[in-house]
Structure formats: structure tokens, C-alpha cells
Amino acid sequence: MDRIASLGRVGLDVVATVGRAGRFLAGVLTGVSRPSVGFPLLVRQLYSVGVLSLAIVVVSGLFIGMVLGLQGYTILSDYGSEAAIGQMIALTLVRELGPVVTALLFAGRAGSALTAEIGLMKATEQLSSMEMMGVDPLRRVIAPRLWAGFIAMPILAAIFSVVGIWGGMLVGVEWLGVFEGSFWGNMQSSVSFTQDVLNGVIKTVVFGFVFSWIAVFQGYDCVPTSAGISSATTKTVVYSSLAVLGLDFVLTAVMFGDF
């Protein structure tokens, strides 16, 4: 009976958390700041969340593109198809690796920082003091961070894909000697804007929204102690990663599953 009771408690906790997260999101999305107040806060968060994530995204994109170039060349040259390397790299990055790897990197770098920052503000009563000053922390603190994550994610994923393709070109064309015209020509003829690029962008938008929601909610809802903040930061990375990978499968099945 004890096990059934604890299972029930866990179930109730999960439902309560999802309910709180939903109400929290509604509060953030409906509380609109004046543009003169909200825009500078958004720009500041875009810098902190987006610009400061550029280095990790660019370096990772470069190396992943180079690895794809090497692996692709090794496999395709067995069939005499190394000219298709550009097409392979572009499709892999635009459809899958760009959105997914960027989201995972973003969750690790920016998501954990967002959760820890908001959690610490809660633990040091900064959010409470804001409330008591008549300033809504959902508008002032949470909304700019949520929107910054949402906006930065697609841009970072696009940069990741571009740098990855360039890295693949460095290895394939400059190092291994694939004909440059075939590399770019095959890529241009096989990558469809609506089928591939747009679907990739839709994935990044969904991932950006879900990841930002998880990160800011975990910070806002954490137990305001050092252990609570540590646990919330871990949850952000774990839940965001699982949500991204799970949603990627669902979205891929919907977008490309027309068998």
C-alpha cells in the first residue's frame, strides 16, 4: 500500500508542477511591459543569453562540420560518391544536428545560467523585494529571459549550421580535394527551402520555447536554498535535453515521416 501511496504522491506532484508551470507561463506571456522598459531589458538578456553563447556554438559547429566532412568522405568514397558530401553535410546539419546540438549546448550553457540566476535572486529575496516595491518579477525578470532564449535559439542554430557547413567544406574541399563545384552544386540542388530549411527553423523555434520555459520556471519554482538551486539547475539541463530529444523525434516523424 505504501508503494501505491508514494506512486500517487509522485503523480500528484507531477500534475501540480505542470499546473504551476502552465500558470507561470500564462502570467509571463500576458504581462506585457511598456516597450520603453521591456526592450532594453530584452536586449541585455539577448546579449547575456545569446551573444555569450556564440563561442561555444561556433566552435562546436565548426568541429561537428569537420567531423561530418571526414566521416562522409570515408563512407561516400567507397561508392565513388564523394561529390555528394556537400549535400550530406548540409542536410544533416539543417534538418537534425543544427537544431538538436544547438539546443543541447544552449541548455547546458545558457539554461543552467538562467536557472541559477533566477534561483539565487529568489534565495536572496530579490524577487520578493521587487514584488514589495510594486514591480512584477514575472514582467521585469522572467519575461525578458524567456523571450531572449526564444529569440536567440533559432539564430544560434542558423549560425551553427552555417559554420558547420563551412567546416565540412574545409575538410572536404580544401583538405580531401572534393571538387568545389560539386560540393556546392549538389548542396544547392538537393536542399529544399520549405522541406529542409523551414522545417529546421520550426524545430529550433519549438526547442527554444520549451528550453526557455523549463529554464526560467525551474529557477522561479526552486526551493530557495543552495541545495534547491543546485537541484533546479540539474533539472533544467536534464529536462531540457530530454524534451529536445523527445520533441525532435515527434517533429521529425511529423515533418519527414511521409513513408
Binding site: 530579490q126 523585494s129 510594486g134
Partner: protein, 270 residues
């Protein structure tokens, strides 16, 4: 409602995590006076401030502040009411990414459209009032505990509130910092005509500046009145708290089994 009361609590019941914190608390907090709410740690003194500020909602009962029923206010109206309130948190709760000057300027920038030179003058006046005009360029991490609370005090009076709530302002302060805070609370009340609510378990300091005091314990108000009335209060619990007796109605020992059982000297098993 008592016409002289700025805050009125009637039959307030509040529970958290299945534990009853307040069980029918009624209290009038007079306008323009310093009211001390005292009591042992963990009796819900800070919770009472959060109920007054609308950060928590009672299970039942009414809380009226400045003529408005706080639990029934919509979000926007509640935030508007809070513009009339200042609160000094135990930790100071300064924004760690802003300088002392910017911390005090924060409520002015958010709630007013004053020009920058006027904001500067107001901030410097508030910092002068707490003796920290010269510390305006420091960051919160560079301040001592006492200075942090003084900056937080300057920030909480930046908008000239009608009500200011102090949450354990003397906790962890050295005697000089404590003396400074006592003087500031008294002077601010006199000069600005504020209604002040002071939550503390530092009995001598609180009774030395308050006009009215109450003691909270076991979810009830067990004694209230002027400092002199409290000192003469017949309740043993009130006297135990005020005089700091280690044993009395609040026992020294946490309830436990018979000592002989724990040490294996008598019958029964542990």
C-alpha cells in the same frame, strides 16, 4: 475598523504544508506609530508581514491595509497598493548587479517619470538620511551587513511610502550597527510620519522604540499593548519571552520519551 488603524487583521487563519501558522489572529496596527511584532523564532512573524503585503493569502479572515482588503485585490491593484509600502528584508535583498545608487534609484525609475537630475537628488537625499551618501558608488558585495540594511532602508523609503515593514532589522548586527538602525527607525517614523511595523525577537531594542507591541506564539497573539503594559502583563509566557527565561511555559526540553527508556535504565524498549 478602528479609524486610527492603518492595518486591521480579523480572525486570520493561515496554514502551510499542513501546519496551522495562525489560528484566528486579530490585530489593529495604528497609523503613524511604530508597532513591534515579537515572538519566538518560527512563530510566523515574517509570514504575518507577507500576509499584510499580499505575498501570501490567508485561508480565512480579513486583512485591510489603507482601507483595501488585501486578499481580495486583483494583481494590478495589489501592485498599486504596494507602491505605498516599503519593506526592509532581513537579508537586505539588494540587487547584486546594481550599485548602491542604482539600487535606491530603482523604484524611482520604475514608478516615476522624473528627470535624471531629480532622481539623483532624491537618491542622494535618501542615502544621506541613512548616512551612506559617500557609499553610492559601491556594489552590494562591498558593503557590511549593517550598511546593506541601511541601503535597503534608503531604497524602501525612496518613494516616500505610507507604511514600512521591517523584517528582523537587528538580527546579526553588532552593537553599533544595531544602535544606528534603532535610531534610523525612530527618526524616520518621526520625520516622515510613517506607519512602521517592526518584526523582531530583540526585545530591548524593539520595546525601546515602539509605541505598541504584540507577542505572537502558537498561532495566536498572546499579549499586546504599550511597552509598559507588556512589561506588566500577567501571562507567564509573555514574561518568559520578555525576560528570556530558559524554562517555563515554553519548556527547555523538547518532548521526549522517559529518559530511563533512552538510557536503558528502566522498562520498555527504545
Amino acid at each position: 475598523m478602528d479609524s486610527g488603524a492603518y492595518i486591521t487583521l480579523r480572525d486570520v487563519v493561515f496554514s502551510r504544508s499542513g501546519r496551522r501558522i495562525f489560528d484566528g489572529v486579530s490585530l489593529d496596527i495604528p497609523r503613524g506609530k511604530i508597532t513591534a511584532i515579537m515572538g519566538p523564532s518560527g512563530t510566523g512573524k515574517t509570514t504575518l508581514l507577507r500576509l499584510i503585503g499580499g505575498q501570501l493569502r490567508p485561508d480565512s479572515g480579513s486583512i485591510v491595509v489603507a482601507g483595501e482588503s488585501v486578499p481580495q485585490l486583483k494583481r494590478k491593484a495589489l501592485y498599486t497598493l504596494r507602491e505605498k509600502m516599503g519593506m526592509l528584508f532581513q537579508s537586505g535583498a539588494l540587487f547584486t548587479d546594481l550599485s548602491v545608487f542604482e539600487n535606491v534609484a530603482f523604484p524611482l525609475r520604475v514608478h516615476t517619470a522624473l528627470p535624471e537630475d531629480m532622481i539623483r537628488d532624491i537618491v542622494l537625499m535618501k542615502l544621506e538620511a541613512v548616512g551612506l551618501r559617500g557609499a553610492r558608488r559601491l556594489m552590494p558585495a562591498e558593503l557590511s551587513g549593517g550598511m546593506t540594511r541601511r541601503v535597503a532602508l534608503a531604497r524602501s523609503i525612496a518613494l516616500d511610502p505610507e507604511l514600512i515593514m521591517y523584517d528582523e532589522p537587528f538580527a546579526g548586527q553588532d552593537p553599533i550597527a544595531m544602535g544606528v538602525l534603532v535610531k534610523l527607525i525612530r527618526d524616520l517614523n518621526l520625520s516622515m510620519g510613517l506607519t512602521s511595523v517592526l518584526v523582531s525577537h530583540d526585545v530591548p531594542e524593539s520595546l525601546s522604540i515602539c509605541h505598541y507591541a504584540c507577542i505572537v506564539a502558537d498561532g495566536q497573539i498572546i499579549g499586546e499593548g504599550t511597552p509598559e503594559e507588556l512589561r506588566q502583563h500577567p501571562s507567564e509566557r509573555v514574561q518568559q519571552f520578555l525576560n528570556g527565561h530558559p524554562d517555563g511555559p515554553v519548556p527547555f526540553h523538547y518532548p521526549a520519551d522517559d529518559a530511563g527508556v533512552d538510557w536503558g535504565l528502566g522498562g520498555g524498549s527504545a
